[in-house]
């Protein structure tokens, strides 16, 4: 900013520099001494903590180090995104834990955002019943401890009938206290390629949309995006799938022995945790969204109405884009909260990183290492969320021309 200014007064290098005098009355010398002293004390405390820990661990013959990560874990894990057997290493077990945490955090953030936004808008609705229901929801959910809510959902899910009396609303769909089972297909490599084609199609659609918009800016004619979207996101994956032999074997869950075999399963543990985290965080997000919408000047509504836009269009095209600038920073905090709250998983038996790391540190006795791993994982996830949200925030920031 100062480079663009032509004011000569800004170009001077500040007051003339004096040499530092070795006297207590010199303000700069005092500043340096105090800073050195504070840094020294902090370093001394850190060194003392470290050396004392190492000393105490040695005295108590407690082994240290991360060598245990290569050892066989032997701990059972109920649900894993990657293949896992108890014969695998602690490292893989912890990786399963990290993925399980991400599985609940990512899905939770998306669902909480959707639900929270809907409730926030509903609370501002002119419909008396809708706004009262939304207000009641927010007040109820925000005021109860999350752990209590998780146990509540888990108990509710446990009171579903057993596998032999499972609810069977549609063929192949079963709901019991063992979870929700859905029919699926037997997964083959061809499906992976089709999935890849879908991602490619999605990116292609985004690029097409951008090109179409550029042309609209040029000649003012709106163009339809959906033909390109359907072709790229539905046609392309189908084509890839068909080209690879169109493998399709339905995998329908069936009761065999104690449990259902086959199909896709959503366990009560995961569902209770997800439900608890989503409904709880959505209560906070709703208030953030409401605050963001109310922060947009009433004149914007009136101006849009004067142009003849409908209420829904005003919200979508005028108000929400401006509200986002107010909404995004506190939203980041809620995403971080949801991620960290997922560590309550162990209360309802969902094996996230905390659960598995705790078991690991208990079996190996490496408490300090175990806690360090947990901290590292949460720090990484949280910083990633923060970085992404800060980038997004900068992108939607008001650009003044």
């Amino acid at each position: 900013m100062s480079t663009s200014t032509a004011d000569p007064r800004q170009n001077s290098a500040g007051p003339p520099r004096r040499p530092i005098r070795l006297s207590w009355s010199d303000e700069r010398l005092r500043g340096i001494v105090w800073q050195l002293l504070v840094v020294g004390v902090v370093l001394a405390i850190a060194w003392w903590l470290w050396s004392n820990t190492v000393h105490n661990l040695e005295v108590r013959r407690i082994a240290t180090g991360f060598g245990f990560l290569d050892r066989e874990a032997g701990l059972p894990i109920g649900e894993a995104l990657i293949p896992y057997e108890p014969t695998d290493t602690y490292f893989r077990a912890l990786l399963v834990g990290v993925l399980n945490t991400l599985k609940v955090a990512v899905v939770g953030v998306v669902l909480a955002t959707i639900l929270g936004t809907l409730v926030g808008i509903a609370r501002l609705s002119h419909n008396w019943l809708l706004s009262k229901i939304a207000g009641f929801y927010v007040e109820l959910i925000r005021d109860l401890p999350l752990l209590l809510q998780l146990l509540f959902w888990y108990t509710i899910l446990q009171s579903l009938p057993g596998p032999r009396q499972a609810l069977n609303p549609v063929d192949g769909v079963f709901l019991s206290n063992r979870g929700l089972l859905l029919p699926f297909i037997e997964w083959m490599p061809a499906h992976n390629w089709a999935l890849l084609a879908l991602v490619a199609g999605f990116i292609g659609t985004l690029m097409t949309a951008r090109a179409l918009r550029a042309r609209q800016y040029a000649d003012g004619q709106p163009r339809k995006i959906w033909p390109a979207a359907v072709t790229l996101m539905a046609g392309l994956p189908l084509l890839v799938w068909a080209a690879l032999g169109a493998p399709f074997t339905p995998d329908v869950p069936a009761l065999r022995g104690f449990n259902f075999q086959g199909g896709l399963i959503m366990t009560p543990e995961y569902f209770a945790l997800l439900l608890g985290l989503v409904t709880y965080t959505a209560g906070f997000i709703a208030e953030i969204v409401r605050a963001g919408i109310l922060a947009v000047n009433q004149g914007q509504w009136e101006a849009a109405q004067a142009l003849g836009l409908r209420r829904g269009d005003i919200l979508k095209r005028i108000v929400l884009p401006q509200a986002l600038r107010v909404i995004v920073p506190p939203m980041t905090s809620q995403y971080l909260n949801l991620t960290k709250n997922s560590s309550l998983a162990v209360a309802v038996g969902y094996q996230d990183i905390v659960s598995i790391a705790n078991t690991t540190l208990n079996q190996t006795g490496q408490a300090i290492e175990g806690i360090a791993i947990i901290m590292l994982v949460y720090l990484t996830i949280s910083l990633s969320i923060s970085l992404f949200m800060n980038w997004y925030n900068a992108r939607i920031a008001l650009v003044e021309r």
Partner: protein
Amino acid sequence: MKALRLALTGAIAGAAMLAGPAMAQAPGSPTLDAIRARGTLVCGVNTGLAGFAQPDSQGVWRGFDVDYCRAVAVALWNDASKVRYVPTTAQNRFTALQSGEVDMLARNTTWTLSRDTSLGFDFPAISFFDGQGFMVKASAGVRTARDLNGATICVQPGTTTEQNLTDWARSNRIRFTPVVIERVEEAVGAYVAGRCDAYTTDVSGLAATRSAQPRPAEHQILPDVISKEPLAPAVRHGDQRFADLVKWIHFGLVGAEELGITAANVQQAAQSDARPDVQRMLGRSGELGQMLGVDNAWMVNIIRTLGNYGEIFERNLAPIGLQRGPNALWTNGGLQYAPPLR
């Protein structure tokens, strides 16, 4: 709760960092010195397991493990009430002992090689021979543990139980789905609600859980025992004198049962029993108590207050339906055997 526990574990890890190097090995017994200076024994017990450690309706801790804490207090001060009980979970018990938050653990803890070495503990003596089993609903039609193929099994994390379960499943080619819940209450609750087909833990724990159910007959403990679980009190490694005291209190209790000395007749025996080993144990001759650093009347006080091993067992564990089994005296075909007190 989890966050709290995590914070606690973190705090204990922090305490391990802060604890001064004062507890380094010194001649004598730093643990005993600290206990004497404090005037109470700090004993880590279970958060609540019927028969082993549980507060009664007056809030007084009772149970088999609790009696071991009380026995140490009686040996030191002839006062069973000088114990402060710290409830510990399966997960935070070891850090509690390592950091010095408790003086000893009397908390159905299995003695294993890795706990003995890399955790920095000593296990003075096996107070209870246990093994892991399964509990199922009586209506499930399961006869043996091998029928559990494909079942969902509730288990608590951070215990040897978890590893035994996977080892057993591997060697018997059994597939199962684990549901891992930290607190006993919730794990048992999930089993009772039918989320799991079976609940697994030590047989003693199963018996305690079963007896606490509204209708115990609806639950059945399978005959299979899939592991060895020698439960033992634990102390910090490096304080041999304190470990000796705990060790010989256990052997004294077993020896007293062998000699037929009970809470009812111990006073009488101390006066008039002429058998030399009774005289030595009860402090009439020799100085066994002083060798351990306590009063020579230590065993008289302990037995008068708590009874011998058999009496402690009958009082605490018989009501929850446990048989002596391997915990019978060696003279009755069991495993409880005390080296001579001389």
